[in-house]
């Protein structure tokens, strides 16, 4: 029983930190691609989509090469394979396309003349963000964050490749469920799967509620 809570807590910690880190990272990339044109934009967008089109194990494999013993990043002191920071990095990369796409749609739906007009009304960048951008885009930003959170809970391949299954460090709920099933400990597996189901459904429901709110807020 206590192991169930340990792995769930680790999954939640991973999901929360992933979603939290993606907000500034995917957010600034989304703002950049939604609002500006620059050389190599299409290439950047394709690169940002890559984690979605790659099999998770392939992404995990390359990360393992980068972060594992003797890898280029490991030699620079970032020996993160089989550690929590390692699976956090993997999880951020893996969820980048999801958060990025949702954020970009939120920013694209924002009418640029509103921002310009706000400036002609004397508003500096801070006021424009606080009083125009955030109030009009927060449902979209929150739903991107929620999506990344829920998706991280279900992550399997990348985390297993990069993190292995070290109890308390990298053994997350989805991997534990796999192990329980393999060991035919079906009673515990049942309970854990039920909890994950409840979390997943709660996130999906919250997403839909936000989407409705967003649509009614931007339609004017």
């Amino acid at each position: 029983m206590s192991e169930t809570w340990t792995v769930l807590a680790l999954s939640l910690k991973l999901a929360l930190l992933t979603a939290f880190l993606l907000l500034p990272l995917a957010g600034s990339l989304a703002w950049l691609t939604a609002r500006r044109t620059f050389a190599g934009k299409t290439l950047l967008e394709a690169l940002l989509l890559l984690p979605l089109t790659l099999p998770p194990t392939v992404l995990g494999y390359y990360l393992l090469l980068l972060l594992g013993k003797g890898g280029p990043l490991a030699r620079m002191g970032l020996e993160l394979a089989f550690t929590f920071p390692g699976i956090l990095l993997a999880s951020v990369l893996f969820n980048l396309p999801l958060a990025f796409n949702t954020y970009r749609e939120a920013f694209r739906a924002l009418d640029p003349t509103l921002l310009e007009t706000a400036r002609t009304l004397g508003a500096g960048p801070l006021k424009v963000w606080r009083e125009v951008v955030l109030p009009l885009t927060w449902p979209g930003l929150l739903s991107g964050t929620l999506l990344a959170f829920a998706h991280t809970l279900g992550e399997f391949g990348v985390v297993l490749m990069v993190g292995g299954s070290i109890p308390g460090e990298t053994k997350v709920a989805s991997i534990y469920l796999f192990e329980l099933t393999q060991a035919l400990r079906l009673e515990e597996a049942d309970r854990l799967a039920g909890l994950l189901l409840a979390l997943g459904f709660g996130s999906a429901l919250a997403l839909k509620v936000l989407e409705r709110r967003w649509k009614s807020g931007t339609a004017s």
């Binding site: 009418d111 003349t113 509103l114 310009e116 007009t117 706000a118 400036r119 002609t120 009304l121 004397g122 508003a123 500096g124 009083e131 125009v132 109030p135 009009l136 807020g217 931007t218 339609a219 004017s220």
Partner: protein
Amino acid sequence: MEVRYRILKPIRLEVALRVEGFTVLLGESGAGKTTLLRALAGLVPAEGEPFPGLPPERRPVGYLPQDLALFPHMTAWENVAFPLRGKGRKERALALLERVGLLPLAGRYPRELSGGQRQRVALARALARDPELLLLDEPTSALDPLTRDRVFGELVALIRDTGLPTLAVSHDPALAQVADRLAVLGSGRILQEGPPEEVLGAPASLEVARLLGYENLLPVRVREGGVEAEGVFLRLALPPWARPGQEAWLGVRAAEVLVAREDRPLPLENVLQGYLERLDPQGLAYRGVFRGPLTLEILLPRHVQERLRLGPGQTVRVVLKPRYLHLMPA
């Protein structure tokens, strides 16, 4: 206020213009009207006066873009209060809304207001900034055609009360009727500016005449005491620049091609005999085509048509009074 701007992107413009009272700038779509307004608001880089080099947030300018850009998540009064700071923000916003006659609607969201009401909210919001110059982009485009003239007239009256110099850009020549000053933009510069009656009555070039809605524009050759158009001599007082033998353009408004009354003595000059090729109702007036030695578009007021009862195919004589003939250099 004198405007002297040089703009390179997104369109090349070199503009010198005086903004005085309600100034209307006419130009075709794509001539750069919006670009000029955006440059004045600081949203497009430009060289020159006024406000050289200032970012938009530091320019004392009230800018009303074509779609007005009211904040959809704020009520009317919150929109007006946006540029205001400090204590009494709400009271000052409400006072501005009262000034434009919208106090009862202060709590409504933009989507709950009509085009004319939204325009007045945008005006109140621009006034909250204490501007020295108002900029209006196509101010009649968002208005309901049925009530357009009245609603726009009220807006202009409100703007006149503020005493602020205002630059309104449009492609609609009807806007010229309310202007204190009229300018025409084309080919990247101001083609002509001045009091509206002067510009409307005496366009300086073919391009200006076209934009101002002159229906009849004929290539002519200058002769002694008049011009020759397709072999027809028309008498008119020549402007100082015109020399006999020179090529020029003659502009005549359709409404100023007069159909002669057969029961009255005819004038001695500039009478053309022909027939009406067509005549169609246009609102309360009638628009038609006269075909004779020259082909001319005509516009008959209702009272004239009621007396003459003309129809297509009918033989008529038209008179081109010398003072309604406007000569422009080729």
